[in-house]
């Protein structure tokens, strides 16, 4: 769906861009899949002190390989502490101790609300039944900020999600405060085409960066609403050879046991 420099794939650009958004030393609640890839890439490049928390109860995991699941043994083996699942949600996530919550999405809308529950039809008899909420609603509510990593296309980027599994900015400004959500919400949405950030005034996702080789119209065409675009859209720095090398080494280990 997009042109891509022969030197890297759009997914690689997305993972690299997401990893760069994580500052060293941040405490990061990591979902499996794209978020886990990006967080581990960051830890192996510019952010060696990034603290990874997985909802299976591993605090400070330092996997040398990419886990396939959120509960692979390597996450426990390399953790500073393994705690119970109730504890990870109650003592660590809920009080707002986590800097960055890192989520994926099946659908995301104009106000960065996320759907991972059902698509189409009725909730009781949907067209597509997705896995559901998992930890996401409370990650979206309680982390100091949320980053979303998701491939961009019109089926995923919809004007209004079919089901709000995790609240972004609800229906606009003031909604998070009204709902009592204490984190700042999704500050950054990183896709295979570019980077979107909420407009500080309208809370609407706004294109701020395109990845190299992607033009704004391509992003627009892959967004299911009339996409707001920042006055100046930057071009993401391409992946460095080191970033690509580390990412490919990590991807090659994915799901390998230990």
């Amino acid at each position: 769906m997009t042109t891509s420099d022969p030197q890297w794939t759009p997914d690689e650009m997305m993972s690299v861009a997401a990893s760069r958004a994580l500052r060293d030393g941040a405490v990061c609640f990591v979902g499996i899949g794209l978020p886990s890839t990006a967080a581990n890439l960051a830890r192996h490049t510019h952010a060696p002190n990034l603290v990874l928390i997985y909802e299976s109860g591993t605090l400070g995991s330092k996997p040398g390989v990419l886990p396939l699941s959120i509960g692979d043994g390597v996450l426990a083996d390399t953790a500073d502490a393994v705690i119970s699942v109730p504890e990870v949600f109650n003592y660590w996530l809920q009080p707002g101790r986590i800097d960055v919550g890192f989520l994926g999405a099946a659908q995301i809308d104009r106000f960065a609300n996320i759907n991972t529950t059902v698509i189409g039809g009725d909730y009781r008899r949907p067209k597509v039944r997705l896995p559901g909420a998992g930890g996401a609603p409370e990650i979206a509510a309680s982390c100091r900020e949320v980053m979303v990593v998701v491939r961009q296309n019109p089926r995923t980027f919809v004007a209004r999600v079919d089901f709000i599994t995790s609240v972004g900015f609800g229906s606009g400004p003031g909604d998070r405060e009204r709902l009592g959500l204490r984190g700042a919400g999704p500050r950054t949405v990183i896709t295979d085409l570019g980077i979107l950030q909420p407009d500080p005034r309208t809370c609407e996702l706004t294109l701020t960066h395109v990845h190299p080789g992607i033009d704004i119209d391509t992003v627009r065409a892959n967004t299911g609403w009339d996409l707001a675009v920042a006055p100046e859209v930057a071009v993401t720095e391409p992946p460095t050879p080191e970033e690509l090398a580390v990412l490919r080494r990590l991807e090659a280990t994915k799901g390998g046991n230990r």
Binding site: I32, G71, L75, P86, F89, L130
Partner: protein, 272 residues
Amino acid sequence: MAQIVPLAAAVADLIHDGDTVALEGFTHLIPFAAGHEIIRQRRTDLTLVRMTPDVIFDQLIGMGCARKLVFSWGGNPGVGSLHRFRDAVEAGWPRPLELEEHSHAGMANRYVAGASGLPFAVLRGYVGTDLVAQTSTIKPITCPFTGEVLTAVPALRPDVTVIHAQRADRAGNVQLWGIVGVQKEAVLAAQRSLVTVEEVVDTLDPRPGAVVLPTWAVTAVAVVPGGAHPSYAQGYSVRDNDFYVAWDAISRDRETFLAWMRANVLEVGRDH
């Protein structure tokens, strides 16, 4: 005091048609063998409970054991959809599946309330999501000191909880370590409990990060080496990630699924 009994006898004794049954395990220590025995014994009308229903729940649902699912995330971890779960929800095959859907934080706290002998738990959760409208077991509650409105969820109180652990001693004390998930809470929340273990040992020497369930808090222990496969038991086995990937193809088609279940579950005496 926990009795050490064969798996088939434990399932026959403890799990009845129509029961509410939690099988817990967070990627690690998932009680597959016990789930297979439930299928072999053709239990039906179960209300199945689990935070992360994965392949074993796909199998139970696809084989028609479940009337209802109480859960927070139903997928094939790291792979994608659970096709049997989807087929039940989207097409009612092999029978309609009632859902009681929560978030992880809510489910974990429901088990905590159950383990604590409380009727409900309080958390910051669900606010603003569409789950609130679909799930009757989510309600607001007001702090009597600050007036702040939070969310209440009712305790989970399964008739039976089933888990897999690394080992037990001869008295029936159970020890598990690694990712311990919500298993302690799930066992303590239940009326009865069944723990399959890799082995029985003379002494449970202490292990870092280990959870011990004293024998007087467990109903039955069954020795089932490899009983978590394709999940794993830290220190005994590694996760069979290839199986999880392979399950995607096995489970997409009803007939392929049924053939696999016949060959690998129904027509084997017991697992492994």
